[in-house]
Amino acid sequence: MNRLIISGSIIVLFFAGLALFAPLLAPYDPGMIDIDNILTSPSGEHLLGTDSLGRDLLSRMVYGTRISLLVGLIAVGISAFIGVILGSLAGYYGKWVDALIMRFVDVMLCFPTFFLILAVIALLEPGIVNIMIIIGVTSWMGVARLIRAEILSLKERDFIYAEKAIGASDFRIITRHLIPNAMGPVLVSVTLGVAAAILVESSLSFLGIGVQPPTPSWGNILSEGKSVMGAAWWMLFFPGLAIFITVLGYNLLGEGIRENLLKT
């Protein structure tokens, strides 16, 4: 365990706790409108102040944590799933399967990812589920490359020949032996991927094409903050800070795992 992993884990666990226990931790109903308390600055009553509809910012941020983490984790889950499958197929079968999949990866990497995401969103309806899917299907290429490289180096090892000799099926060899052995670098990539996905989700929600109000997300709170810029600094400061610290946490964790892997 190194300092990066410890500090990263503390941050990650803190926000995971917020998301998990949101109903217990949020002092108010995040949707409760209070027109007598519009844009009040942070105080004992509203620790982080209120928004332009008088809703409690802290409560909205706590519930927003749920959305941001959920989108980040599921999007990365989807991308890891696609990446692992395509990467192991390419690495294990080689030849034309490999050529086809890797050319596909090359083509996908030609697109500025954010452009691709926006284009697909323009065709679908913005919403939490679509956002997760879109981020997932546009960000699996790194994982695919990693898995492929690992499997290429693993598949010549003795234990794989031994498995083949006793007649194990390709599916068994890939899922039981190759993928678990290639998991280290993927774990790093996935952890860093969560950070990236959270950044993308918040940007989309900020631009109004991600998570739609009234569902709170850090990105759409920031967007509201922009419209009241100069009048309510807390609306800009806290949601951005939350994104920043969460992303920092996953980055620290990912780099920490990478360092640990390099050592062993």
């Binding site: 990812t113 926006l118 284009a119 969103i121 323009a122 065709l123 922009k226 810029m229 951005g240 980055n251």
Partner: protein, 323 residues
């Protein structure tokens, strides 16, 4: 050299082909046809517009015919006309490209001018307080959300202190200014967007440069250079630096899609009339011809960036044979 460039160009053809397939798929991926969505989401679009899309994409024809048509038009960069103002898509895009490329170019220069020295000095002072401080800075840079950084700068520098303009490229009185004032005016408008777009890239390049330099400094030829009696300055800034700098060229090429993609965010926030903002506006108004056009152009720019990186790398690294 020309032969090499030509060969690289040829190798791009399958990629271009792939790009058209993906873009074509994106159009058809939507549940229901884009024509349905059009009228459903955007009441401004009339029945006449619906016919226009149907005609543009030839949606009544079989799939392979549609693709062949699409490919034929791509080859001519003909993306049809915008739904919003009926102007040719390619014209709308080409008006906006210079601003986006210009900002990205300036920020790449900035990234290099600041990031490379940071990386080198950290590597040379590996594990000192300075190096650790720079590592912290790099982590901050990686985690900083562009939107947040932009908004905070807008709020502080623009709104509260009123030092710099926060929107657009020109002031209202631009036309009445002299040439020098015009340049000053645009520059002032560009300070924040360029800063924001350089900030994230800065962390990446410094980190990369540091890793490179640390590795290079451990190589045997560095020991040889020292054993020859060269000064520490010659060892680091001649022998080590050239080796550590070469791969940066490739990284710059690879960072093109990220930079172009990122331009959507800061151009939207700062209302810069570039390609990113055009894309954002088209997404909001579901202006499909423009969306598809920008998507393809973005990919083509990425390809060109990679080509440029490959060619420059081949030109500077003696180990790469061009023939």
């Amino acid at each position: 050299m020309i032969k090499y460039i030509f060969r690289r160009l040829i190798s791009m053809v399958p990629l271009l082909f792939g790009i058209t397939i993906i873009t074509f798929t994106v159009i058809h991926i939507a549940p229901g046809k884009p024509t349905d969505m059009e009228t459903q989401f955007n009441p401004k679009v009339s029945l006449e517009a619906r016919d226009r899309i149907a005609k543009l994409y030839g949606l009544d024809k079989p799939l392979h015919v549609q693709y062949a048509d699409w490919l034929r038009r791509m080859a001519r960069f003909d993306f049809g006309v915008s739904f919003v103002d009926s102007r040719p898509v390619m014209k709308k895009i080409s008006e906006r490209i210079p601003v986006t490329l210009g900002i990205n170019f300036v920020s790449i220069i900035l990234i290099l001018l600041i990031g490379v020295p940071i990386g080198i000095s950290s590597a040379v002072r590996e594990n000192t307080f300075y190096d650790r401080a720079m590592t912290v800075f790099v982590f901050i840079g990686f985690a900083m959300p562009t939107i947040w950084l932009s908004l905070i700068l807008m709020d502080l520098v623009g709104v509260r202190w009123g030092i710099l303009p926060v929107s657009g490229l020109k002031s209202l009185e631009f036309e009445r200014l002299g040439l020098l004032e015009k340049i000053m005016d645009v520059s002032r408008h560009l300070v924040l967007p360029v800063f924001v777009s350089a900030f994230a890239g800065l962390a990446g390049i410094s980190r990369y440069m540091r890793t490179n330099m640390v590795q290079v400094l451990r190589q045997n030829y560095i020991r040889t250079a020292r054993a020859k009696g060269l000064s520490e300055r010659e060892v680091i800034y001649k022998h080590a630096l050239k080796n550590a700098l070469l791969p940066i060229v490739t990284i710059l090429g690879l960072s093109v899609p990220g930079l172009i993609g990122g331009s959507v965010i800061f151009e939207s926030i700062f209302s810069i009339p570039g390609m990113g903002r055009l894309f954002y506006e088209s997404v909001m108004s579901r202006d499909y011809p423009v969306i598809m056009g920008v998507l393809v152009i973005g990919a083509v720019l990425t390809l060109l960036g990679n080509l440029l990186a490959d060619v420059s790398y081949a030109a500077v690294d003696p180990r790469i044979k061009l023939e």
